[in-house]
Symmetry: C2
Subunit: 276 residues, 2 copies
């Protein structure tokens, strides 16, 4: 299903959703390019100066995929570009890039996590040696479900406010962000091909539903983009495309000791060096 | 299942959960009585003066019930009492009551909504003629899923900051709040007895899961108590006991024209006078 939508204040987007594919149970891609006058609350939440009306331009792509098979991880990718311009002037335009990729396995396989992080590190290292360590830490901090004291998954990379400073140009930043976007399809194809062949039963499905509940909790309670979109009258169906097809909540669920579920919970922590 | 818990800064509570009963699929009761020094962010969110440390005492009971049968509504009840005391003084203690009951049918039956509101109106009217109209409107405003432009259900009553003013005493406020609490069991017993006999099939279950998704959205995105609890390190399992046993999300779901599901959506609005 594919829907184009327009934003009353300027711009619009396209949302595309795949439901009940062979491997993908629910997958969505959002593209948007919007512009206009930056709302007051947005300016505040971005810590921008309050002394002048600001025009803005924002564009981005987001992807979230929930697979059928609990052995295949959930993946999320986003790239975005933002411009602001003090109204009526036009000389002090500011711009920056943001984005990232992160992986949420229902069952954590350390080899898969290593493969994923190594892949992202290679992309990062080809642009700057500080990118991977900095953006890996940022992902750990960002994709953290504070009220559960758990990370959402094994993290990945997350970055924002990549500007033209410290020797970086718009071209070099854009080249990096494009490479992040290009990394998405091969890395997830790898996991789909390899892990969709793994067997699972009712126990693994039930665990998947619980983990999808956590995914919904993160997105609805903590994800800045989701909260911001819902509070500022964004297109709800596009924003909430990231929610899982189903979720489940069990009061005070505790995994069986020494089970794969318990191992996964123990690995949902910040600051794990998956590569070494 | 019944868990007692303690709060490090003072007090504690008891959470009791019933799972997979004959009628109730998941039902929880939370009791808590906590005290200590009011955290800075709490004081801000309550619009209290920032010039002095404040001791507080808070106690409350919350109940949420998710039934198996989609023809039986979800119900929520809460009563609470709050005291604050400027630290080290002890003369200008402030206190207030809050609470309410609201009903979330998966399928709205206007006769059921009328019965529910009439019952609440009778309780309110026996204490003050302004209570029902005021608290009914407050519930419509509070239990509103802004990003869906839908109310959570058919509302009920919601009230807060009921103080000793305008001729009301602590005794008269407390008598009202106790009557609200006492109204819960008979009114929900009525719906359990009457509606659990109604037949349903897979279509009604699937719709129930979608509506439970909306319930989760409201609680995680908009409910002040839930947000406040999660952001201030409350006991997560007790706070999230209100979440449904399962939920489901379908991109851009549209009900069949002229179906009971469409009728329900059309009635999820503020300012419906259910009684007249």
């Amino acid at each position: 299903m594919r829907d184009a939508w327009e934003r009353p204040g300027g711009g619009g987007g396209v949302s595309a959703v795949l439901t009940n594919g062979n491997i993908i149970e629910k997958g969505g891609v959002n593209f948007s390019a919007v512009w206009g006058i930056l709302p007051e609350h947005t300016r505040k939440s971005m810590n921008l100066p309050a002394d002048d009306a600001l025009e803005f331009f924002a564009t981005g792509i987001s992807i979230v995929i929930h697979p059928h098979n609990p052995m295949v991880p959930i993946i999320h990718m986003n790239t975005r570009y933002f411009e602001i311009l003090p109204a009526g002037q036009g000389v002090t335009k500011q711009w920056w890039f943001g984005g990232g990729i992160d992986l949420t396995p229902h069952y954590i396989d350390e080899n898969d996590a290593r493969y994923f992080h190594q892949h992202l590190k290679t992309v990062c290292d080809s642009h700057h040696r500080d990118y991977y360590p900095e953006f890996k830490t940022w992902a750990d901090e960002y994709f953290f479900i504070k009220h559960r004291n758990e990370t959402r998954g094994v993290g990945g990379i997350f970055f924002d406010y990549l500007k033209g400073e410290n020797g970086f140009t718009k071209e070099s930043r854009f080249a990096f962000v494009k490479d992040v976007g290009s990394a998405f399809a091969p890395v997830y194809t790898h996991f789909m091909k390899k892990n969709n062949a793994l067997l699972f039963g009712e126990q693994e499905k039930q665990w998947q539903y619980l983990r999808r509940g956590r995914y919904a909790e993160f997105n609805l309670v903590w994800d800045r983009g989701t909260k911001f979109g819902l509070e500022t009258d964004g297109r709800t169906e596009s924003i909430l495309m990231s929610l899982p097809p189903q979720a489940r909540w069990v009061y005070n669920h505790q995994p069986t000791p020494h089970s794969p579920e318990e191992k996964t919970l123990q690995l949902l922590q910040k600051n794990i060096d998956w590569i070494s």
